[in-house]
Assembly symmetry: C2
Homo-oligomer: 203 residues x 2
């Protein structure tokens, strides 16, 4: 007999992906604040009760959606030099944010994080992982003596993304190729100048 234990079998998994996809669609169409769980259930061809039981709230659902997105992260490519690596990273982020669907999802997920602590935790984890994936390229640059020793790798990677997100969320300016290029160049210039060394400030 089947005593205790969770049941991650076929149906449950199928429902989860269906609901997560539907939630993504609904978010892209209506945005975070107009998200109706009953509508998600309808799109997923799933009982409304199921959605409420398993996810409960909009932020809970979005948090799970984020966890799902985190699983399918593409590995970074090695491009030989710091600036090439940072450029590749900037382009990747740019493409993601500009993409109709992905951009809307990111906006929704960020919004959810400001409202709900679980979503916030998921988001912070997501970015911690993403950043960690790219830190090796900075470490390599330090070994190549492209950057001063003691440079904080994570800070360099974050510096590449920051201007792009600034445009996405605050200024509304387009996130074009030139923006990505500038973001990569700026991070590289600041890093070379020793701004991100943990020890101290070297002008």
């Amino acid at each position: 007999m089947a005593v205790g234990g969770t049941r991650p079998g076929g149906r449950t998994a199928r429902v989860r992906t269906a609901v997560l996809n539907a939630a993504g669609d609904a978010l892209v169409e209506h945005g975070f604040d107009r998200l109706d769980l009953a509508d998600v259930a309808r799109r997923a061809e799933v009982g409304k009760t199921t959605v409420y039981r398993r996810w409960g709230t909009v932020t809970g659902l979005v948090a799970d959606l984020l966890a799902d997105m985190a699983e399918q992260s593409l590995p970074r490519t090695d491009n030989g030099s710091l600036i090439e690596d940072l450029r590749a990273n900037a382009r990747l982020v740019q493409r993601t944010l500009v993409d109709q669907r992905q951009g809307a999802l990111f906006r929704a997920v960020i919004v959810a994080a400001t409202c709900d602590s679980r979503a916030a935790e998921a988001l912070h984890h997501f970015y911690a992982v993403r950043i960690a994936e790219w830190t090796p390229c900075v470490e390599q640059a330090i070994q190549r003596a492209e950057l001063p020793p003691g440079t904080d790798p994570a800070e360099v990677i974050r510096a590449v993304s920051a201007p792009l997100y600034y445009r996405l969320l605050l200024s509304g300016d387009p996130i074009d190729d030139a923006t990505a290029e500038r973001a990569a160049q700026a991070a590289a210039a600041a890093a070379r100048a020793g701004v991100y060394t943990t020890a101290g400030d070297s002008r």
Copy 2:
């Protein structure tokens, strides 16, 4: 007789400030998604109907709140050198975002902008004005030959804020003095390296 025309007299203005203050309090306490207009009305000691009639939606109210915030912007100080000016700017933004009330308000306003086009417009205008206030310090730096000619002033100022907002919204890392200092130094280093020149890239 009083024919036509709006009536911006005492009571109306009094109601507006009362509601805006109450909305701010409620936002700080509950956050954007838990904002209830009836609750705002209660706090403002104003009829629920009035709030719905004049602002209609949560995003509408937040948009007006932002417009109100835009009016009371403090003028920038002149600190003699580029790095000192950027440092002052970074500190100002840092203080604002760290402040319990202001930080929550900014988060709410940014969230509203992702949901509602009017709020988005208000937000973009707000930052355009804020940025414009600080561009003179970059222009002065160009004249002093601290920066290469052709440097885009707005881009430099945005570069200072971007890492701070990144922490506020995405990573959740603390926005401390060191962060502000690094933001100012990084923007200055990138600008000196010619990253923000419109002409082209001077590595």
